[in-house]
Amino acid sequence: MTNPYVPLLFLAACGVGFAVVSVLGLSFVGPRRYNRAKVDAYECGIEPTPQALGGGKVPVKYYLTAMLFIIFDIESVFLYPFAVAFSKLGLFALVEMVLFILTVFVAYAYVWRRGGLEWD
């Protein structure tokens, strides 16, 4: 086996095939009886709202969560090769990494102080 990603594709094909067959194929097995209430949005026992909350809009605070996620994701992406090659990099890389983490920590501390990590 030359390429290690080929078996991965096999398993992915199994998963995708199974999902497609059961969702598309088996959707014709069940009964189909139309009922207006069935296709309405679900709201516990009350008349459903015509649209999702606020017209299906996402609250803006999730933007902040996603941005923080990107920041830490990038930080950890740098940590991976650092950790793997640590034995060959030497002391200098360790100092670099500590500097890097400290700098990103400034951003983290700022967000914390301004209350960006509060959820209510």
């Binding site: 299906g56 941005m67 090659a85 983290y108 301004r114 209350g115």
Partner: protein, 255 residues
């Protein structure tokens, strides 16, 4: 040049990528645009992996598909389900300026890439000799250390920008549960909280008010929103049915 497997992969995924990219331009719904873009990002990652840049490919998927596109999707969902592109210019001359700038960028890129000269490649075997990731790490933490450290400054900027754009400062501290309760007592109204909506034998939902001791529906037991939307249910039929049943039991009517 390329092995058979890689060619097959390319000819399958390249059209998919192009379709995704075209979708970015042509599809009307904003979220579909973002999903098309996510497909392009994933395919890019797979292309990197196919060319033995494994770490780069995985990171492309982790960072771009997993994080950056998630941000995009959040932003696009901010503007709602049914929104599509608006063709009204908010800044005058926006279209012409955009066109000019992008043409300029294209010319500059073509000129720069066209005139670049490449040294003869030393081959993937050599590059990946100590392991793909180790080779990468040696470059990041050796030759390109300055770029690496500057990235952290970029991340600070990103955090700052996100806070400015999306964070709403709370001017007063959030009242705790205790403070709410104390306030209720000071005002002297609804000391035990608002009453719960009515629970009847045949209905148990927020739109049906509970009954007060004298039998009248309690206004406070249904959400104000439902009252404003005029969706409040009349409890009489449910309560009435209940009373009939109770009477039946009490009187012991024969069936």
């Amino acid at each position: 040049m390329t092995s058979g497997g890689e060619a097959v992969l390319f000819w399958i995924l390249a059209p998919v990528s192009v379709l995704g990219a075209l979708g970015l331009l042509l599809v009307r719904k904003a979220v579909h645009v973002a999903l098309g873009m996510a497909v392009v990002m994933i395919n890019l990652g797979i292309f990197y992996i196919a060319q033995n840049a494994e770490f780069l490919g995985i990171v492309q998927i982790v960072v771009y598909t997993g994080a950056v596109m998630m941000l995009f999707i959040f932003v696009l969902m901010l503007i709602g389900v049914d929104s599509s592109d608006s063709l009204v210019e908010t800044i005058k001359g926006q279209k012409i300026a955009g066109l000019l700038l992008s043409t300029g960028l294209g010319v500059a890129l073509f000129a720069a890439i066209g005139s670049a000269t490449f040294a003869s490649p030393i081959g993937l075997k050599e590059v990946n000799a100590g392991g793909n990731i180790t080779g990468m790490a040696v470059l990041i933490f050796g030759k390109y250390v300055w770029a690496f450290e500057v990235t952290s400054a970029l991340l600070i900027t990103a955090a700052l920008a996100a806070m400015v754009l999306a964070h709403r400062e709370r001017l007063t501290p959030r009242p705790t549960q205790r403070q709410w309760s104390e306030r209720r007592f000071q005002v002297g109204k609804n000391l035990a909280g608002l009453p719960a909506p009515g629970v009847y034998a045949r209905r148990n939902a927020v739109d049906t008010p509970a009954l007060l001791p004298d039998g009248t529906p309690s206004e406070a037991s249904v959400p104000r929103v439902l009252t404003a939307r005029e969706q409040v249910n009349d409890p009489e039929p449910y309560a009435g049915a209940e009373r009939a049943i109770e009477r039946e039991i009490e009187e012991g009517t024969n069936r």
